[in-house]
């Protein structure tokens, strides 16, 4: 398709990018920490480690991460782990195996976090998806 004049939406995106985005280096730093969580979610990751991958102090890191993604880094890590847990439960791994594979060290903590995130327990989720593997 030959591009004609920019649409209203495209101009609005450009205006937003020009006036409201933070410095580019901050995005690079924060993306580094996000990429770290995406890759190492199965390991125990504390706030100090997350912040150090972004080369920031802990409090500044939390503030900037939340400003960019709308959620705290801890909540982001939880979401990554829960998404992975759902996949693993569907694949047939036991709840205990999944718990440790996604970086939790306590089964009750994993189960309650999973229930909070999905509305049902890991066991029930696995049962519901048993005949519906995606």
């Amino acid at each position: 398709m030959t591009k004609s004049a920019k649409t209203f939406y495209e101009l609005e995106v450009e205006r937003f990018a020009k006036n409201h985005l933070l410095g580019e280096h901050l995005y690079v730093q924060i993306r580094q920490s996000k990429a770290f969580m995406d890759e190492y979610y199965s390991d125990p990751i504390d706030l100090e480690t997350m912040a150090s991958t972004a080369c920031m102090s802990r409090f500044y890191f939390i503030r900037i991460f939340k400003q960019m993604y709308g959620i705290t880094p801890r909540h982001y890590l939880r979401d990554v782990r829960m998404a992975k847990a759902k996949e693993l439960l569907k694949s047939g791994l036991s709840v205990t195996e999944v718990c440790f594979d996604v970086g939790y060290e306590s089964l009750p903590t994993f189960s309650s976090t999973f229930k909070q995130a999905t509305g049902c327990s890991p066991k029930k989720y696995q049962k519901m998806n048993n005949g519906n593997l995606e």
Binding site: T7, F8, F16, A17, Y27, G119
Partner: protein
């Protein structure tokens, strides 16, 4: 507990829309129930077949048609779908003849692109960066 189970895009021709949303975009047909002269026709992501359904909603209300056209003309997306790799998806879709009004670009924490769904809507693809 309340949950989001369905969202929708308005389409002028449901059969044509089903073709585009499945064969081109890659969704899977989930439900197809006759409702008078129309169909309750939904598609889902292959990765979340028990997840939120996208209703290909027949456009049968004139004010909605006006609203849809206004958004389309302004280049504003009706809705947004997430992809793992926007550049790859852009290449795949342009190879299939899909037209984009916004080519892939980074905007802060996301990369976006906007395509024409051939059913009267702009659809934004996003990749979290």
């Amino acid at each position: 507990m309340i949950k989001i189970n369905v969202t929708s895009v308005p389409v002028a021709d449901q059969a044509k829309a089903l073709d585009f949303y499945t064969k081109t975009l890659g969704f899977i047909k989930k439900t197809d129930v006759p409702v008078g002269e129309h169909r309750w026709l939904t598609v889902v992501s292959p990765a979340e077949q028990s997840g939120v359904e996208l209703l290909l909603e027949p456009m049968a209300f004139e004010p909605a048609r006006v609203y849809q056209k206004a958004l389309k003309d302004a280049g504003i997306p009706w809705t947004s779908f997430e992809v793992d790799n926007l550049e790859e998806e852009y290449k795949r879709l342009t190879g299939l003849g899909v037209a984009f009004s916004v080519e892939p670009k980074e905007v802060g924490t996301v990369a976006i692109a906007v395509l024409d769904d051939t059913c009267g809507n702009n659809i934004q693809l996003t990749q979290m960066l």
